[in-house]
């Protein structure tokens, strides 16, 4: 009898472990906050200002707002970061999912992330982080960049918007000659 129970518990443990491993990762890459249910919003538009200056604009088809955790989970995201100079071209972005962490002033984009930089330069990756306080865009996932005359694949990127220097790790660059 004991042996049967032991086998039963073992099988149950394996099933639980299997279910745990098979659970799909949250699309925002982070577990949902515990607490009250989120407020659900559709066709949202969020804007962030420093003084009277627009620093970030985000739009999404759907948003889950976890007020206590200061988290907003977005789907079908698009947005723009205005250039530091008034006449400069903005940086635009789109992704399948987004996570805005208000406390950390961070935005994480996931799923078919595309960034359109000035000068017809595009960045494609799966995960991209934006730290608003540093005005830093970074990613540690493989990244592909297209621009007129060249295509670059890299392991990671770091881009300080105000320095206008995009840094790529382990780049493999194919240039048109």
């Amino acid at each position: 009898m004991n042996r049967v129970l032991l086998v039963g518990f073992s099988v149950f443990g394996l099933v639980v472990a299997l279910l745990f491993w098979l659970e799909p990762e949250a699309p925002q890459g982070k577990a949902r906050p515990v607490g009250p249910d989120p407020a659900i919003l559709t066709e949202i538009s969020l804007k962030d200002f420093e003084g009277s200056k627009l620093t970030l604009e985000v739009q999404a088809d759907r948003a889950e707002v976890f007020e206590e955790a200061e988290e907003t989970r977005l789907t079908q995201v698009r947005g723009r970061v205005p250039a530091e100079a008034a006449e400069g071209e903005p940086t635009r972005f789109t992704s399948e999912f987004g996570l805005i962490e208000g406390a950390q002033e961070e935005v994480t984009l996931r799923g078919r992330v595309r960034i359109d930089l000035p000068n017809e330069r595009q960045i494609h990756t799966e995960v991209l982080h934006y730290e608003q306080t540093k005005r830093l865009v970074w990613g540690d996932q493989p990244v592909r960049m297209f621009s007129p005359g060249e295509q670059v694949e890299a392991e990671a990127l770091e881009y300080y918007l105000d320095k206008t220097v995009l840094e790529l790790d382990q780049p493999v660059m194919e240039i048109d000659l």
């Binding site: 960049m145 621009s147 005359g149 206008t164 840094e167 660059m173 240039i175 000659l177």
Partner: protein, 286 residues
């Protein structure tokens, strides 16, 4: 001398080629406003169509705003460029497409199976297809050219020497060695000095002729020669001394004249030649 052309053409060719080049590095910095890309650390490049490879510590490319054409290339640090069997090594190179000028400097070493040139700085004018190789102020440019031996065309023997600067002319297949020129021909065991030496190569890149001016001297075992100018014909293996020519040959004496022709091989002696003044020959009596 093929190596030099290849070496110079090598990395501007990154810009000329019709197809793509692949570059890798540890890190890239993209300055989007300036159209500038800098590759840093273990930069490697290849251009399969031209069988070219590049190694460097740093590569910088500048594109023209609007057209996105590459306008400027800059490579630095332990640069090694290869194209098939030709190699160029140097510390720093720049190429300005607008003026068609490529400059490489540092420890410049250009090699191919038949040529080696070592200098400090080289400038190549792509429009004129000519180059100048320079040395440090207190040094001279070294060169080595392998020619086919007379008795066995498959055996290569070196002609090497030094000069303050070497000019190379691609179209006319000639090299001009200027200032404090020294050349040593191992096969002939001949040591030449002059103010200026011009080397002509044939269509097979074989040494065809050398002309020397500005106080020519040639020392060979058993023979010393000097003149204002000289022509060394490697096909006929003849040396023509011109202007205040003087030859001293051991056991045969001294010959002076305005023009003296002689075999490259001292043992074969002099060749009769036209002379505006009679030859004066001193024959030792003992």
């Amino acid at each position: 001398m093929r190596v030099l052309w290849l070496a110079f053409l090598l990395w501007p060719a990154l810009v000329w080629a019709q197809d793509k080049a692949v570059l890798t590095a540890i890190k890239a910095e993209v300055f989007k406003e300036q159209g500038r890309v800098v590759l840093i650390g273990q930069v490697r490049g290849r251009q399969p169509e031209r069988e070219m490879t590049l190694k460097a510590d740093r590569l910088e490319m500048l594109r023209q705003k609007g057209s996105d054409d590459l306008t400027h290339l800059d490579v630095k640090g332990n640069v090694v460029l290869t194209q098939r069997d030709a190699t160029a090594e140097f510390d720093h190179g720049t190429y300005e497409k607008g003026i068609g000028l490529a400059t490489i400097e540092g420890s410049v070493i250009l090699t191919d199976p038949k040529t080696r040139i070592e200098g400090h700085r080289a400038i190549y004018d792509l429009n004129r297809q000519s180059a100048k190789v320079l040395a440090q102020p207190d040094e001279r440019v070294f060169f080595r050219l392998l020619k086919s031996a007379q008795d066995d065309p498959n055996r290569l023997v070196p002609v090497e020497g030094r000069a303050k600067e070497i000019l190379l002319f691609e179209v006319s297949r000639k090299a001009v060695l200027q200032q404090q020129v020294e050349v040593h021909d191992q096969e002939e065991d001949a040591h030449l000095t002059a103010g200026r030496v011009v080397i002509f190569l044939d269509e097979n890149q074989e040494l065809e002729e050398m002309t020397a001016s500005g106080g020519f001297t040639m020392k060979q075992p058993g023979r010393d020669s000097k003149s204002d100018r000289a022509v060394l014909d490697y096909k006929k293996r003849l040396v023509t001394l011109l202007g205040n020519a003087e030859v001293f040959q051991l056991d045969e004496g001294r010959v002076e004249g305005e023009r003296i022709e002689m075999h490259m091989d001292p043992e074969k002696g002099l060749v009769s030649g036209q002379r505006r003044q009679p030859l004066r020959i001193e024959i030792p009596l003992d």
